[in-house]
Symmetry: C2
Subunit: 431 residues, 2 copies
């Protein structure tokens, strides 16, 4: 059940794990108090990287796909969390309208949609699928690999509400990250719950906002545990008005890369880490593992080939890239057999409901693994014997990496909550 | 994983199962709306009996033991439900004081306590055990079968609060059903959350109150589904001022047994059920399977032997029995191999978190199974492939008995909520 993993079990991460396990009641209470003040995103997945000397989130997805990669054993947890979420948002809800991505030929993605339908149906809602694709003009049946099928239907917009034919939902759940912009059909839906909100989509969202909020969260949490926030926080800077295609704005990128590499070098020296620093340059509004490059030396940016120029120019749904985040690279020392692995943690409402390892045999420890060729191995989050046990003598119970991953992922989720509050266009301003 | 069971898969129960599965969104919504008006008990276990023609709760425990009989796979669900419960009751909580039963030599019970400690520790609380036993004058370590240990400590009562040495809890959780009466040390704790409340203990609680409330709930639910409430409701009557020892009050018992048997006979005739009716006579405040007898004919009460007189005179903790509930007997047609089985469903807050089959090889289908010799087989509640699946063609997915059991158990939990509201001595009365 538990995948055979080789992890970096040396250096500060063991201290961090130990401290996190010991502080569990304090940590859980801290989260409870934070959630009294802040609303968790409806659902979230977080890519975490464990460098042995450092453990950090590197991407926080507010429209998570890949629910099909979770084990069936995790489903009851997801259903229960969905029940708790619905109860808070709209207890009188009957109907949920789920709006997926448009690419209806990707069977992996469709299986993810099927899983989401299953979760919310079992939580007690009538779930139907509405398509943002104008080509869908009538209910369309899509066969799934397991022999079952999904039906997507055209959206029906009235003045104040969005629905389907004979289907008026209380809540609309987006599983479409709005990379292509905000469709007019989703605007001004003041009578219904639209989750996540429009400004959580990549048409508005910026990774730099997120990691700024994460830095704040990491500092608070580090204070609670009495530790250096750098151990869980990836440093970053940004660059605007960049065009890899035209070759403009690259000096700023180069200089920020240089500065960030210097900062990482100093931290490595402080902790006696014998590694070569690297940074990740990626689209500030990017997703799907598109528009990402690893830079080990600022000079590399002098000699960018045509392929990299193209890769760094276009994000998902053909959007131009002109804003970048330059992020401290966190190598991952998790392995499955010989392949590099990184944990991905799934949350629904405030609850960790599962996760998996993203494994890529052809990638290095300093590269993005979210690319073709990646495979998925369920995490053992839902295995109770992986939960820390009270009253057990030290050394008897295996160190619990999974609880720690869940804590770091929830910090990133909390940061997303801060982020969405600060970028909410409808927020009331108290001065 | 799923035990090999033989069940009565004929007659109305299949219709009921079908209707419950089809109505899942309506049922879940109905529960959500009920929980907006009523507070679920903190934790609950319910004994359910499936007669094939009828499915009904026969006992609702508000201080459930036996948490150790749940599979490890169910633990994450219990932890998540506990987190949700704490968040609602007392989000700033740090410390939980758990007060178990006194019988600290029963290793089965102690393993149950250990499991409860584990659940609440993992939900993020410091958990310590306080004893109601005056003999516990200092922290006492009790070894457990798995090599670990529990420590019980003497209670420390100040004017307004209850705690332990250097331990001031926000919440006190009772796993002691107060059969022996309400200890003075638990009275007037207005500054802390005492869960379940004192009037949920058997010193105050009456089964007849519970089944009166259940009848109300069953009628509402039957109306929602358009069915006869009898299919899920065990009929009952009561008798007061009875002494089996002295032979007084037995005429009333006999006459009520006679009347109830007649009612059951008419229902059996209505549904064409070819069974011999029986009733269960038991202590109205009884528990632990003590003070229970099966009666098939009112005349049996003329010839009660000494053993039965003794059995029917004393309940748990040596309490006299003088009030009785006379309940419609629901035979159980669930079997494991050749042994008679009944499902027991566990809930924490409003969530079904697991269950098991109570199996007894030496008992009949019309007898109480909660007696020495019973064994426990985990239910497959937490198996996601046992949850009903959306979009699957009829006949492909096995009929889902477990969801139905969870619904019936939640109806009994809701009845307990009604019951506790109506018996609350501190309730405000609106006239």
């Amino acid at each position: 059940m538990v995948p055979h993993l080789i992890t970096a079990l040396n250096g500060p991460i063991n201290e961090l794990e130990q401290r996190i396990l010991e502080s569990m009641p304090a940590i859980e209470r801290w989260f409870r108090l934070e959630w009294m003040e802040h609303t968790p995103p409806f659902y979230t997945s977080v890519d975490v990287r464990n460098a042995g000397f450092k453990l950090a989130p590197v991407d926080t997805n507010l429209f998570p796909g890949g629910w099909n990669n979770l084990t069936p054993e995790m489903l009851p947890l997801a259903v229960q969390a969905a029940m708790a979420a619905i109860e808070k948002i709209c207890p009188e809800a009957k109907n949920l309208l789920l709006i997926p991505e448009k690419h209806t030929r990707n069977t992996f993605y469709l299986t993810n949609v099927q899983r989401l339908v299953q979760i919310f149906h079992q939580a007690g809602l009538n779930v139907r699928l509405g398509s943002l694709d104008d080509a869908v003009k009538e209910p369309t049946t899509i066969p799934l690999p397991d022999g079952s099928e999904l039906t997507v239907e055209p959206l029906l917009r009235t003045r104040g509400r969005l629905g389907l034919k004979d289907f008026d939902p209380c809540t609309i759940l987006l599983n479409n990250d709005l990379s292509a912009g905000i469709p007019r059909v989703l605007e001004s839906l003041h009578e219904q719950y639209l989750l996540p909100p429009l400004h959580a989509g990549w048409a508005v969202r910026r990774k730099t906002h997120h990691f700024q909020a994460y830095e704040e969260v990491a500092k608070k949490f580090a204070k609670l545990l009495g530790m250096d926030p750098w151990l869980i926080n990836p440093m970053f800077s940004q660059a605007r008005n960049v065009s890899f295609q035209e070759g403009t704005g690259l000096e700023e990128v180069q200089s920020n890369v240089e500065t960030l590499l210097g900062k990482i070098r100093r931290k490595y020296k402080e902790y006696g880490i014998n590694e070569k620093p690297f940074v990740i340059v990626k689209a500030d509004n990017g997703t799907y593992g598109m528009g990402i490059m690893t830079v080990r030396d600022a000079k590399e940016l002098d000699e960018i080939g045509r392929r990299t120029r193209n890769k760094m120019s276009t994000a998902k749904d053909g959007q131009d890239i002109s804003e970048l985040i330059i992020q401290e690279g966190v190598p991952t020392y998790e392995r499955m057999n010989d392949a590099v692995a990184e944990p991905v943690v799934y949350m629904l409402d405030r609850y960790v409901v599962g996760g998996f390892y993203r494994v890529h045999a052809e990638r290095g420890i300093d590269e993005n693994l979210n690319s073709p060729g990646a495979s998925f191995v369920p995490l053992a989050f839902a295995e109770s014997n992986q939960l820390p046990r009270a009253g057990v003598k030290p050394g008897v119970s295996a160190p619990n990496r999974f609880y720690m991953y869940g804590v770091i992922a929830r910090l990133a989720m909390l940061a997303a909550s801060y982020e969405l509050e600060s970028t909410d266009p409808d927020a009331e301003i108290y001065e």
